[in-house]
């Protein structure tokens, strides 16, 4: 069951496809919410709604982050974090 906690930690290794690993970490956290809800307090639905709101917030955050990335690509020409040390040209 606690695969998932470790799973979240393992994914943090990546520094390049940062957003994808961020998704993985958030996903692991959401699984943990759901699992704790099911096994420790099955009479309440709190964990499930935390997961639900977490999913929605993650979706919004991904949309904005990808908009920023596309904009950065338009300015700089590629999306390596090394080339993004300047905020403004």
């Amino acid at each position: 069951m606690f695969f998932v906690g470790i799973f979240g930690f393992v994914t943090r290794k990546n520094m390049i496809a940062i957003l994808i690993s961020l998704e993985l970490v958030l996903n692991a956290v959401e699984i943990n919410f759901a699992v704790f809800n099911r096994y420790l307090h099955p009479q309440h639905l709190d964990g499930m709604f935390f997961t639900l709101f977490g999913i929605a917030i993650t979706a919004a955050e991904t949309a904005v982050a990808l908009a920023i990335i596309i904009n950065a690509y338009r300015t700089v020409g590629n999306i390596d974090i090394k080339n993004l040390s300047k905020m403004k040209e």
Binding site: F9, R12, K13, L24, I55, A59, A63, A67, I79
Partner: protein
Amino acid sequence: MDPIINLILFFCVGIAMLLLSVLAITTRSLLRAAIYLLLVLICTAGLYLFLNFHFLAAVQLSVYAGGVVILFVFAIFLTTNKGEMLLGHSFQRYVYGALAVILGVAVTVFAWMKHRFLYAPGPGLTGDWEINMKVIGQTLLGTGKHQYLLPFEILSVLLLACIIGGILIARKK
């Protein structure tokens, strides 16, 4: 369902998730990473089904697998040049990353071993506790204790802010 088969299936899904997530962060092609991410998210939906969170599984599939991954794929197509591969960081960074991972796993396992969880009585992995759709709706839109109207509304405002922010950022200068 047969408990043993259920357990075996559960472990298969868990191991598949672990392997796919490791693959997603180690593969050298961004598009493949996105596809592995998609598979991990689908496995997560399967896990929610095991836990009898049917509504959650549906949300996971439609929002994550349907929306977020499509966004990822579009962004990858828009931003990668042809045949581009991911470059690695310096070796030092990998060492630091591995250190952080090992420490984190150690702390998690330690806490897990140390703590006795108060497992609630009831069918765990094998039972069938379907949550009523009516209960979900009333919990989401109620104002009492353990009910979630306020976060729901705040979330809608957050989504609106995200839409406006996205338009503002992506707009041509």
